[in-house]
Structures are given as C-alpha cells and as structure tokens.
C-alpha cells in the first residue's frame, strides 16, 4: 500500500464508513426534497447524486429557531456509495448537530478549503480544531476524482439548509 493510499483511507474514515453516525431510515418524502415549517423549527431534505459513480445521499436537517441564532438540532441521512462519501456524511453529522448556523457555515467552508489544498492541509490550528474528525479527509485532496465523494453530504446539507428557509431570517 502506498503512502498516498494510507493518507486517503485514514483509520478515522474507515471507522466512520463502517459505523456511520446519523444514518437512519428516512422513509418516503414528497419528491426529491421537502421542507416543513413548524413554530419552533423547520425540517428540510435534500437528495444529491454523484452522476459519475452513482453515489447518493438524502440528508434531512432540523433547524431550531427558538434562540437568537438558528441551531442545527438534528441531521439524519441515508445513502449509498463509497467509503469516502459515506464516512464524510457521518463526520458531518458529528460536526454540525448542535452547532449554530454561522459555525456550520464556517465548518463547511473550511472543509472545502481543506480539500482544495491537494493534500497539503491548511496548516491552521483554529481550522483543525473546527474540523475535528474531518481533518482525516486531508489526503482526499490528492485524488481529484474523490473530492466530489467527500463533498456530497456537505452539498446536501447546504441545499437542505436553504430549503428550510432559515437563510431568509439572517
């Protein structure tokens, strides 16, 4: 096994792929994406596909708007795909559940920046603290074909958050 492979498939990634967090049976939704707005929170769903390999993720986010800043109260998802895409959604779950919206946005942006470093890493302690387990995806940046896999869940989250309508309250 080459060094690149070991960097790509970090143990953290393999563990998350084997024991995914937040994975649930979402059941049927009306169409590819739905949004439901309640008094305290809103729930929305996004379905994303990577057409090159057929990976799929359906992600549902619940946003709590009772406080001064909207907070991601829960994320549930189902999907099928490679270990990189599935582990990435699992890591996403751990990072964003309980986080407020500005922190979620910053985490998503930092994760995208990390994958753009072509494996070099961000060399930024604050960024590393923010990303937690997601730092394990540093090596994915060396494999351009796999970057999309790592981003699939994050694309679904970004889309689902827009669908909650919570952005309009900013």
């Amino acid at each position: 096994m080459t060094n690149e492979m070991e960097q790509l498939y970090q143990q953290v990634i393999l563990d998350h792929a084997r024991h995914p967090q937040g994975r649930a049976d979402l059941g049927e939704a009306d169409g590819a994406a739905t949004a439901a707005v309640g008094h305290a929170g809103c729930t929305a769903r996004s379905h994303q596909v990577n057409p090159t390999c057929g990976d799929e993720v359906t992600l549902e986010v619940v946003v709590d708007r009772t406080g001064t800043v909207p907070v991601v109260a829960d994320v549930r998802w189902e999907g099928q795909g490679c270990s990189i895409s599935q582990a990435s959604v699992s890591v996403l779950h751990g990072l964003v559940v309980g986080a407020d919206l500005p922190t979620v946005d910053q985490t998503a942006a930092t994760f995208r920046s990390l994958l753009a470093t072509k494996g070099a890493g961000l060399d930024d302690e604050a960024a590393e603290d923010l990303l937690g387990d997601a730092n394990a995806f540093t090596g994915v940046g060396k494999f351009p074909a796999r970057v999309k896999c790592a981003l699939l869940g994050w694309v679904a989250l970004t889309d689902a958050l827009v669908r909650t309508g919570v952005r309009g309250d900013d």
Partner: protein, 430 residues
C-alpha cells in the same frame, strides 16, 4: 480451434503500443484493464494521423488540386478498409463521431421521416402512435436514451427485452416483446457490462416477422470478434474507432444500401447536398448525405490503419485471445470470497469484460485499491444504469481486455482484488 497469441507474439505485439511501456507512481508498471472504455493505440495508428497532417492534409470532396485529391483518396480508402473490416460495402458506411453519434443519427433520421421529411421514399420509416420501439435492459445508455427520446417525440411506446440472472438476454421472450406493433428493434451485440455476446439471429428473425428495422450496437464486438454485418443481416449497426485501437472522434454507422438510400438526413449543411436554392435543397446520395460539414479526415484515415492492423493480427486470433483472457479473468475472480460476477460465469459466448461486485466494498473504493497497485479498471455504472439496477447494484468494477492483455495483467488484477476486502476490514464470508 484457433490458438490465442503465444507469449512471444504478445510481447512483439505489445511493443507496438508505446503507452503500455509507461510506468505509474513509484515506477509501477501499468496494468491496463480498461480497454472496454477505450483501447490503447499502436504506433502505426498514431503515425497515420501525423502522416496525414504532415503530407496530405486538405479538404476532402471539394477542390481540384493535387492535395485535395490525395486527401479524398485517403479518406475514401479508409472507408473501404473499415467497411471491409466489418463485412460491409464502402457506400454503406457513414462516418460519425462515435457509436453514440451513429445511433443518434438513425433515431433522429427516423424522427425526421416521421415529421414528413425525406419525401415519399422516407415514409417507410415514419412512426405512428401505437407503434413500438424495442430495446433491451442490457443497453449502454447510447442505445437507450436516443430511443426514449424518439418514442417521446413520436408518441410511440418503448418496450424492452430483459436479461436472465446470468446476464444473458431473454431471447425466449422475443415473441412476446416483439409484435406487429414493433417498428424498431435496437440491441447490443455485446454488453459492455456483462460481456455476454448476443445471439443476433433470433433478434433479426423476430424483427423480420414484425416488419421492424434492426439496429445493432456493435461497439464492443467489432474490436474483439470477426464481425460480418452482411452475414448478421442487421439493417443498421454502430461502432466506434477508439475501442478498436483507432483514434477518438471517429465512428461509423452501417446501413443496408437500400435503407440508407431512403433515409432522410439529420445534420444538414455543406457537403451533403446536390442543388441548393434560397428555398430548398436536394440531398446527396449516401453516405455523403449523412456527412454534413468538414469531416474527421485524419481520424478516419487512422481508423483505416487500425482496421488494417487488426486484420493483420487476424480477427480469429484476436477472438481466441479474448476468450483465453476471459476464461482467466473468470477463474481468477471465482476463487475470491465475496466477489460476485455480474454476467455469465462460463467463458462461452462472452468477451473478456468481467464486471464484479465486491460484497461490503463500494466499486469506487475497489478501483482505488486497484489503482494503487497500478491496475486500471473501470468503476461505476458503465453508462448502463438500468442493467445495474436489474442486478440490484449501482456500481461494479470492470476489468476489460484487448489484444495486448497478458496473463500477468490478469494475475495483477486478481492479486490486487484479493486484498480489497481485507483493506476495508470486511471479513471473508460476511
């Protein structure tokens, strides 16, 4: 029984393909098992394009100067070479950009005939509501989506022939699926996923009984088998250059002469007309009628050279070599726990394109481990999503061979594949 290439023949042959000599990271040799996607090119094919641009380049079928004549001769000689290679006559062979281009050409020409274009002669192709188009579950998207589009444009229905659990087309259902409402039967000669070779005769017979046209996707067969389109007796056939050791950007549509004569054009413009006034135009006879605009001349010339090269190898030998590699690939994966073949597991009537599912590991991850060992395979749905769905999966890992594939290539593939489940912590027997 024709013998496969000997080790020394294979070594000589491989020396014709410069790319096979390159190495990957850490100096690993390349194990190229993705020829079903695109084949590598022998030096004579690479040189043919350069030679054309260096010595002969000019516009074809126009201009009266010496170069124009030589370029036209080279272009038309290539047509003769490629037509002869597939058992057709030169005037039955239309250059297209690819198989996809060829299949779309037929589908859109039928659509144009349905819209009333092409005069009285083209009415034989016109579809009406209630008519049906038959395809198969094994089709590459290129021989499925154009027919879906045609059906949608013409108000006709799409029906299909299923495969059995070994990936063989259900020829026993042809009489149910192909009826007197059927106007077109479009089917693959060899599945790019299962590698299964379609028995063409029952499809042609069913279509004949129904009075339907046959359209054969020969993309995967022409590079690996002796193909005689006249003997197969299909009405149209599509194949592509880059899978048969030729360049990208060139493919061909075969059509029976009397059908091409009546078929209306699709692409229109220069070079496909006879008389043009401000109001209308009359069309050139085939094949020029279907070759509007500047053609891919250098690629066509090089494809002629590729056909000559394969003829020189002997297509019987090529087929025997392919069968040999198919048997080795099947034997190699049969020994691996948790590895399941999507397609026939017996080596008869199939090509050396073997797609597998590795239980518990996604194809993309399988491909990554193989790539790390220098083994290039295709992972994903291989542009055949319905067929993957039929087998309850979204993605497979496919090893596919060509004339230059060796026993060592198969061994390297098998060795790398054997390590996949261990790497991802999926225990044998799980």
């Amino acid at each position: 029984m024709t013998a496969p290439f000997t080790a020394s023949e294979l070594a000589t042959l491989r020396a014709d393909f410069p790319l096979l000599a390159r190495t990957l990271r850490d100096g690993r040799p390349l194990v190229y098992l993705d020829s079903g996607a695109t084949a590598q090119k022998p030096q004579v094919v690479i040189d043919a394009e350069t030679q054309f641009y260096t010595c002969t380049n000019a516009a074809v079928h126009r201009g009266a100067h010496r170069l124009a004549e030589e370029a036209t001769d080279a272009f038309e000689q290539a047509r003769e070479q490629v037509a002869a290679f597939v058992g057709a006559d030169a005037d039955e062979l239309v250059w297209t950009q690819s198989s996809t281009g060829a299949l779309n050409l037929v589908a859109y020409a039928i659509g144009n005939a349905t819209a009333g274009r092409g005069g009285a002669a083209a009415r034989r192709f016109a579809l009406a509501p209630g008519d049906e188009i038959v395809v198969t579950v094994a089709e590459h998207h290129a021989n499925l989506v154009p027919w879906q589009e045609l059906a949608a444009r013409t108000g006709t229905a799409l029906r299909w022939v299923d495969v059995d659990d070994t990936g063989r087309l259900r020829t026993d259902t042809l009489d149910e699926v192909v009826t007197d409402r059927t106007r077109v039967v479009a089917f693959t000669h060899v599945s790019n996923v299962t590698g299964a070779i379609t028995p063409v005769a029952p499809f042609v017979a069913a279509a004949r009984r129904a009075g339907a046209l046959t359209v054969l996707d020969a993309s995967q067969s022409v590079p690996h088998l002796p193909v005689d389109l006249h003997a197969l007796d299909v009405d149209f056939a599509a194949f592509t250059g880059h899978k048969m050791l030729g360049p990208t950007g060139v493919g061909a549509l075969y059509g029976r002469r009397e059908l091409l004569t009546d078929l209306p054009p699709v692409m229109t413009g220069g070079s496909m007309v006879e008389v043009v006034t401000m109001e209308s135009a009359t069309y050139a006879p085939p094949p020029q009628r279907f070759e509007a605009g500047t053609q891919m001349v250098a690629q066509a010339v090089a494809l002629g050279v590729a056909a000559q090269y394969m003829t020189g190898l002997g297509m019987d030998r090529v087929a025997a070599h392919d069968a040999h590699i198919a048997a080795l690939l099947l034997a190699a994966v049969a020994d691996l726990p948790g590895v399941r073949v999507i397609g026939p597991t017996d080596a008869a009537d199939r090509l050396a394109a073997v797609s597998v599912v590795v239980d518990g590991v996604h194809a993309h991850d399988v491909g990554q481990v193989l790539d790390d060992a220098g083994v290039a395979v295709r992972v994903g749905h291989h542009c055949a999503q319905p067929l993957h769905r039929r087998f309850g999966t979204t993605a497979t890992t496919r090893a596919s061979a060509s004339v230059y594939t060796t026993e060592d290539d198969v061994a390297a593939f098998a060795q790398a594949l054997a390590g996949v489940r261990t790497f991802f912590g999926v225990e044998a027997g799980q």
